[in-house]
Symmetry: C2
Subunit: 497 residues, 2 copies
Amino acid sequence: MKLKIQEVMIETGGPYIVIINNQDAELLDLHNGDRVKVSNGKKSIVAKIDIATDSTFIKKGRLGILRETLQKLNLKNNSTVNLSLEAKPQSIKFIKKKLFGEKLSKKEIKSIIEDIVANRIDDIELSYFVAACHTRLMDEEEIVNLTKAMIETGDRLNFRREYVVDKHCVGGVAGNRTTMIIVPIVSAHGLLMPKTSSRSITSPAGTADTMECLANVSFSIEKIKRIIKKTKACIVWGGAINLAPADDRIIKVEHPLAIDSRSQLIASILAKKASVGATHVLVDIPVGKGSKIENAHQAVSLKEQFEHIGKKIGIKITCILTDGSHPIGRGFGPNLEARDVLYVLKNSPEAPSDLKHKSVLMAGRILEMTKKAKKGKGYQMALNTLESGKAFEQFRKIVMAQGIKTLSPSMLKAGRFRIEVNAGKTGLITEINNDFISRIARIAGAPRDKGAGILLHANKNDKICRKDLIFTIYSNNKQRLGFAREFLKNHQPFTIK
Amino acid sequence: MKLKIQEVMIETGGPYIVIINNQDAELLDLHNGDRVKVSNGKKSIVAKIDIATDSTFIKKGRLGILRETLQKLNLKNNSTVNLSLEAKPQSIKFIKKKLFGEKLSKKEIKSIIEDIVANRIDDIELSYFVAACHTRLMDEEEIVNLTKAMIETGDRLNFRREYVVDKHCVGGVAGNRTTMIIVPIVSAHGLLMPKTSSRSITSPAGTADTMECLANVSFSIEKIKRIIKKTKACIVWGGAINLAPADDRIIKVEHPLAIDSRSQLIASILAKKASVGATHVLVDIPVGKGSKIENAHQAVSLKEQFEHIGKKIGIKITCILTDGSHPIGRGFGPNLEARDVLYVLKNSPEAPSDLKHKSVLMAGRILEMTKKAKKGKGYQMALNTLESGKAFEQFRKIVMAQGIKTLSPSMLKAGRFRIEVNAGKTGLITEINNDFISRIARIAGAPRDKGAGILLHANKNDKICRKDLIFTIYSNNKQRLGFAREFLKNHQPFTIK
């Protein structure tokens, strides 16, 4: 059936939706939620049907398409498209197969990933895929095939160099904003580091959210190439480009429950790294109570799986196990974390020493992996680069190339409203819970509210008095701050003994 | 924030959605998909935010609410409501807990079910709950608690009688429309049978879809009580009333993958039965290749679990194992199944004998369970009631009380378009695959297209010739018929040897 496009001014951020007049729907025997194919002869998409119950909204013969969808498809208001019924994609069957505990073949995994990228699978169906992989687990062969399928369904960078470096942290540690310090240190040594980062899934801020406080992070792939040509490095948001795009949709449905399954974790990371053309990747696996990986046994098994699967994808992976039992840095939330990064790069007295030393350690390791430093000499070399100001100089170049917002910590405002929290007890701080820190910061509005988050005034192993201020919660939204206060009642992040 | 309601003429059939102007969204720091509470002082709902990108659609100060939501909430266009941020419900945590394989407490299950009923959990989150129960399984205590929570969050009927009977089939067999025959037989003997049925999940038609071809099936609980007072029985759609309403939302997200997990199955059935006040319930467990339960071992374990959990809920459950290896009846799809039912009730020569005898067997068993018949005498008593025409007379009363559409098989039209399928091979029909029959009928448009479905021209164990017509596929939609033809290529429902 031919229909004329009517632009609809709603954003949903969800899968494609088209709206049809109820008389047309009856003619085509279409019902809410049915899958249809919309094509203009050249391009086509699969969308779900909503029905307009009144002709004043969508007239007979018209097809309402959301502006975000129109833009993605280069369709124009008032142009004519063809609407036809679309059968359920075959990959639904494979998702169900996995949910029943069976192993998926290479072809079946490819088919699922292609349908995810083409938006032919809706959020409910995708949630079942994530749940299936999470509860039924994937074996090594399936993870390799998942990774390859993710790479093949996206764009790729290719630098034709012996060393293209990258790093990744499997997460679970609040703060821990090492990327923005490592990239300038190693690229100051001439190494190519095309760093794409994600926005947060379960943390108060991802590197992309934090970097965005200082510079732009959304670029086309062509623009990224130009930035790298100029500065040898970049720190950009991976979601703005089409690298392993299936991953972004998967992350979106993992979000509501903050799920992070191992197969998705490995495939997601390796696919992104392979897509930017990385040859050598350092993976940080934080271990400890309250982080994602709670014991050394799990960490070693993850390390082995990473290095093994990396080899099959053609990337040299080096994993390091770090202390993940407490937050790294002082601020948690985009602006507060960006401040910490600037303090370290500027060698300011406010620099959190844990963040500084972990970043230098990792940068040193990358220098060793790429023969820039002799074995055992990387740390000192990286420290010199940082303390001499060369790393900040290189960071400034990257920020300028990406479009500077600020490099001044005082411009990075914390939220207008705050809750100040006292120790309530005299003693020794024996624990700071990563998970509670992250959740409080998120409840307060991070990462979308750049100023929201937590600022610590005391560290693990500090002795404190009852009336000492131990942390402040910031937010630009009073209601959210109220929720945070509520949550705090039963979830004290500090253990004082 | 106070906003004025603007009615939006779209139907989505999904969770509550409200649409806000982008300037208001910014003020409140709201983003697509955020949870908000909309209240008018008395009532409140939790909805998800969509953002209007243009003021001509939703003006500043207005809140777009879909007509279906307005109606549900008794809100009026142009009235003023208050909008506030809503924190994530705590039950999300419990869903995640189950997904990680932990057992849920009574309180946790209640909290999840309450949030499902109040629409505070979205489809993605609910999908994870279904997937978690499906892959992690629930133990008996969890299923009892799930059942109780479903009962307690809905309305209940209470007849204060020694015997209030009900029946259920766990499904998996195409056709098998016994309810519409059993209800008139047993209620003709004075037994109270307040039968609420569901629409189809994975079959070409549920009893509610089929009954709807002959009479109305959507009634308020008050109206149902009046129908039962008049005729001692009813055959209505359970979804129109508020009996164990959580179940309906769960079924909706099971639909895309046609999932049917054991814990949901038992809880769903027992909750519905308890809600209508049933004291004695006969459960039909079809066993055999291609049905839901493939072997006797599984069937016996399900039977034991049913009877055991029934006792804990206070219902006497009797399970019978029946042959589920082939479809029951001749037609599959609402109109075609309704025809079969009428042929049996009218003792017509076209009556499918498998449907007739299974229905009589089950009705007889219920007569024995309730002491209407002596042990071993139920079958003959039920058969007499059917063949004497008393069952049809009673069925006519029920149909009249519910608002008759037709009782004439010739009024029940098959779809306008058809595909006739020949045997293609001479031999003996050794198998008719339930699953393929159901899927072909559904692809052709059943149950929404009442005329869509399959009509068999041959049965299991028939000898046939190459050119014999074995079945016809009907549809009112040519495109759907094309999909059915495509599916048929690789999924032949008949095995001929």
